[in-house]
């Protein structure tokens, strides 16, 4: 499974998303290939990803992509990440 953490530039909030997703996956007993991308790169990488993690606003900018898009409101709240990943992956 490949998960893309997407933010505007791929090195600030997306990095936080990736770190939180790593913790959440560990808690859920799952493994995945986690990659960080900026919004432009994300469109190119999307066809090869199974899941995209990003904010509500950037999800709108991203538009229609193949993988399921999970939007995170509070990037540092591990519970939100765990709950949303769990729901998306079940």
């Amino acid at each position: 499974m490949k998960i893309l953490a997407v933010c505007g530039m791929g090195l600030g909030s997306a990095l936080v998303l990736r770190m939180q997703a790593e913790k959440a996956l560990k808690e859920l007993g799952l493994t995945a290939d986690l990659e960080v991308a900026d919004i432009g790169t994300a469109r190119a990488l999307a066809p090869k990803a199974d899941l995209i993690l990003t904010s509500n606003e950037l999800a709108e900018q991203l538009g229609s992509v193949k993988p399921k898009v999970v939007t995170i409101s509070n990037f540092i709240d591990l519970r939100e990440m765990v709950d949303k990943l769990k729901a998306a992956l079940e």
Binding site: C7, G8, M9, G10, L11, G12, S13, L15, V16, R18, M19, Q20, E22, T31, L34, V36, I39, S55, N56, E57, L58, Q61, S73, N74, F75, I76, D77, L78
Partner: protein, 171 residues
């Protein structure tokens, strides 16, 4: 997945220069709040002034998604010639400021981030995210009265993390 283990790269306290903290900044709007964080990066020696304008332009271009959690903005732009070294700044605001984020406004804490590449700041950012994830720690940070208090809080948190890591928590 080993990238985020808190052992590689500079720590938060390494990137948070003594001059890179402002307590109770007066900022009438989000631009002023981001500018305050940018000014602190300049003061801390991480960036030239042009990077501050790049951070503001990034919000204009991409929207207020950088408000990553209730009350917290992570202001940054891309690596650029205006970035001299990786750095982090912390600015607490005297009055909360709206960034236009539907869930996480208003902002009370602006973190400025300057990066040279996509990975060198990962340990520091990881520590910061864990620090801020605890509401009590966030409140204590926002209530800090001096930059030294902030630096002490960060240093103590890093010591606690290091101690926890050596107590056999599997990595």
């Amino acid at each position: 997945m080993a990238d985020a283990t808190p052992s590689a790269g500079p720590r938060l306290s390494d990137l948070l220069a003594a001059d890179a903290i402002t307590i109770g900044a007066e900022a009438p709007d989000w631009r002023a709040a981001v500018r305050a964080a940018g000014d602190r990066l300049v003061q801390g020696g991480a960036t030239r002034a042009a990077y501050t304008d790049e951070m503001i332009a990034a919000v204009e271009e991409l929207g207020p998604y950088m408000v990553i959690a209730p009350g917290i903005a992570l202001a940054h732009s891309r690596p650029s010639p205006a970035v001299l070294r990786a750095g982090i700044s912390i600015v607490t605001l005297r009055q909360p400021v709206a960034f236009g984020h539907p869930q996480n406004d208003p902002v009370r804490l602006v973190v400025g981030l300057a990066a040279l590449d996509e990975e060198a700041h990962v340990t520091a950012l990881s520590t910061l995210a864990e620090f801020l994830a605890d509401p009590a720690r966030l409140e204590a940070l926002i209530a800090a009265e001096t930059p030294d208090q902030v630096r002490h809080m960060v240093a103590r948190f890093e010591e606690e993390q290091a101690a926890a890591a050596t107590e056999g928590i599997p990595t």
